[in-house]
Amino acid sequence: MMRKLALLLLAMLLALPAFAIDPTNIPDPKLQARYQSLTHELRCMQCLNQSIADSPVELAGELRQEVRDMVVAGKSDEEIRDFMVARYGEFILFRPRFSARNLWLWLGPGILLLAGAVIAVRIIRQRAELVDQDDQPLEEEAGRR
């Protein structure tokens, strides 16, 4: 029991830094929610695999400030994304936008999966036929003996 408590406490302590990085709290809960969602969507350009919400570098802090200012000023989520993309490119978005250029990125895996499934079905059917063919000679042999 004590071990479980200790583990729980440890886990909670380890989670604390997440709060320390971004203490921003916008009074309006709807704006705060949008701010949180946006800062988790935007990539920190210095530590490429972290969002600006999680990154401790100064640039991330500045960009969070920008997002905060824009959210409070009444800009829409799209406008804020556009602002970031205009300066840093599509790469700043963790979820690339659906456009002609990104078409392959979005559809590629689905298409490959479908192609793989079709091929798999064909192979299974071929094998099923072969198994049928195998059965017959044995029966014939059994018959002949």
């Binding site: 210095q46 993309v85 300066r87 840093y88």
Partner: protein, 181 residues
């Protein structure tokens, strides 16, 4: 027997080609291409570091190409870059404009006094707003902006005379000159 392998082999070959092309064409992920190349440099009007009481603005810089170098005294790589900037300044081809990013005036002035000042003007960006408009994500970064105010090239990381000669110089003559150089 061979027929069964041809289709998967072809599909695999196609995949290799597609992925190979993708990998060859993708820019070095360490250095992400600037999305602002070919676009107008963002407007800025910032206080001057070296001429207190005056401003450095993108408007006033138009009409001739210039180089915008983003730096800060807190930036180790900028310190390494500095002697190279002095050499580039000596080439005398294009004015160097400094963008002092998220720094303190007294530290910045001290730095220039100690290491030398390669800049024709230094604009002070304390909030970092102009840097964000430029899509800067680390110092040093250097932009080449042409006479029309269009960003023609961006270099991320310390600039050297070698890189200058290889990447910046060829672009200097690209725009038709309105009068004698």
């Amino acid at each position: 027997m061979r027929n069964r392998f041809i289709i998967p082999l072809l599909a695999f070959a196609l995949l290799v080609v597609v992925l190979g092309v993708g990998i060859k064409r993708s820019p070095d992920k360490q250095v992400i291409q600037s999305v602002l190349i070919g676009k107008p440099a963002p407007q800025f009007t910032l206080p001057s570091l070296t001429e207190p009481g005056t401003n450095v603005s993108s408007q006033q810089l138009r009409g001739k190409p210039y180089v915008l170098n983003v730096w800060g005294t807190w930036c180790q790589a900028c310190q390494m870059e500095h002697p190279q900037l002095m050499k580039i300044r000596e080439l005398g081809q294009v004015p160097l404009i400094g963008l002092n990013w998220r720094d303190q005036d007294d530290l910045a002035l001290g730095w220039l006094a100690q290491l030398g000042n390669p800049y024709a003007h230094v604009a002070v960006d304390k909030q970092g707003r102009t840097a964000i408009d430029l899509g800067v994500y680390g110092a040093p970064e250097t932009f080449l902006i042409d006479a029309r105010g269009i960003i023609v090239h961006k270099h991320i990381g310390p600039l050297t005379v070698e890189i200058w000669k290889r990447d910046f110089e060829p672009l200097l003559g690209a725009r038709p000159q309105a009068g004698p150089t």
